[in-house]
């Protein structure tokens, strides 16, 4: 088995999930709990990766982060490296691609928190931020765990975006799904089969865990909130 690819995928998924927690929780909180205008546009934007072909997303990330783009050249000026075809570039693409898989379960769980409890917390003097961290997040925990599991599993299995943005550099950007693709290209079906079986088992376990958590908390995770 291609252990370096497996470790790379795990590293990428862990980093992606952590970033999604930091970015996704406030974003989902805003989506679920505010009634501000323009919410629908952000809703649609977050859900975009669900319907967009990964190659399209990857293409735009590639263009946006390429050496001739403002972002890409700024990054290169600071670090001395290009961001595309690197782990960091892969990370940016993964975060964008897995965004709905984190934000939607988060937002669904936040929206299911009894509005009454939120207002009670406000009347007890708790700021919006304190209400969010002390009341909303703890009560939405099953949904947050679901979002974490799903975005982690989704990142481990991604292919198209990785190929577009990361290329196929062993140890740097060759993830587990690309390694399977390479094995098949090289007619090494036995090796591809072992890696595929591992990924299958992992994905099943991740989903089983998610649904188990949903069942205990008594609500299903809708794809669109």
């Amino acid at each position: 088995m291609d252990w370096s690819a497996i470790f790379l995928s795990l590293r990428l998924a862990t980093a992606t999930t952590l970033i999604l927690l930091v970015v996704g929780l406030p974003l989902a909180g805003w989506l679920a709990l505010s009634s501000r205008r323009g919410r629908w546009a952000v809703d649609a934007l977050v859900a975009l990766p669900l319907v967009l072909p990964p190659t399209v997303l990857g293409f735009y990330v590639l263009v946006a982060l390429g050496p001739r783009s403002p972002l890409g050249s700024a990054y290169e000026a600071i670090t001395g490296n290009t961001i595309v075809f690197s782990f960091q570039g892969l990370l940016v693409a993964s975060v964008l691609y897995s965004l709905p898989f984190a934000v939607q379960p988060f937002a669904a769980a936040f929206a299911a928190v009894d509005r009454n409890l939120i207002e009670t917390a406000w009347c007890l003097g708790a700021s919006r931020v304190r209400t969010f961290t002390r009341i909303v997040i703890p009560l939405a925990r099953p949904g947050i765990i679901a979002g974490v599991v799903l975005s982690f599993a989704h990142t481990v299995g991604e292919f198209g975006v990785v190929l577009m943005v990361g290329g196929n550099l062993p140890g740097t950007t060759r993830t587990v799904s690309i390694s399977i693709y390479d094995d098949v290209q090289a007619f090494d079906y036995a090796r591809a089969g072992r890696t595929a079986a591992l990924l299958l088992a992992f994905s099943f376990l991740a989903l089983a865990l998610t649904y188990r958590l949903q069942r205990r908390s008594g609500r299903a995770w809708p794809l669109t909130s």
Binding site: L117, E119, W122, C123, G125
Partner: protein, 364 residues
Amino acid sequence: MAPHLVASFLQRHGPAVSVQADLELEGANNPVMVLFGPSGSGKTTILRCLAGLDRPQAGFIRCGEDVWFDAAAGIHLPPQQRRLAYVSQDYGLFPHLTVEQNIRFGMDAALSDPRDRIETILRTVHLEGMAARLPTQLSGGERQRVALARALAREPRLILLDEPLAALDLPLRDPMRRELRQFLRAIAVPSVVVTHDRVDALTLGDRMAVLSGGRIRQVGPVHEVFSKPVDLAVAASVGVETVVPGEVVESTNGLATVRVGTSLVHVAQAALPLQSVFVCIRAEDVTLETSERRDVSARNQWPGRVTAIQQEAGVVRVTMDCGFSLSALITRPACDQLRLEEDSAVTAVVKATAVHLIPRDNPA
């Protein structure tokens, strides 16, 4: 000096529905104001505006020296800055926090010894030793007490209670109602209680405001509003009956005697302590006679004089003075047969079982 709440505001929900509230709440003597009305009459809207959860379109809300809301000046303090306690219908206890954590949530973080204070408060609401329980491990009555304890811990300037007894099972309601009244009197913080239940209103309130169709129709002492509704809308929502304050002077053999003004009222009622009560008599339970009789089963016969006769749909409402003001609902032919007119002498006959008492812990 206790704060004084003055509120006058308008909240629109679309072109057809609006709620207009004009309220004044004295801090000192009569701290409990009941907002009474059928569902949909705008009670909860008023409470939410007072709490700062909804923003009215026009008007102002002032508490003591502070301006909580002023549409003209563009002031709208969020609930966090109003230092009030809002207890929702289902109490709003945080299910993932223990009793102690729930109470502590609303307390001033700068407090030097919160533990002592929490224990004092738990004693006040008779929940000693329950600090570590989760809300799911409590009965309905205990949950209400935790909600009250949490409200009290905040040292609020105003307490808002939305249908505080609606979530309780029927047998629990009676004792909890009395407990709540004692609690509200003891803490002496001005409170606004929303209810659609007549007994709640009579037990809990010092004053009441009757809402109908998004407007406050009448404000006054509770028994007065019940006895003397100013218009038909109020009469329809409070259900017309005579409500007068009295004192239980005797209670034996399932029959209580209550002094009301200069008259005595006999009531079929299980043993009752000698205390203040509201005496409630429905107008349709009052029979009128031209003179006193000896051979009747009814325990109450009050001679008096007719003070007013009003025609209503198919019936006649006779108001008489028999030591207190009493309404009777009789038919047209009965009225003609008795030849009733203003100032004629008449005797009201009421069975002891038709009189209801609502205990009060203080002279009203």
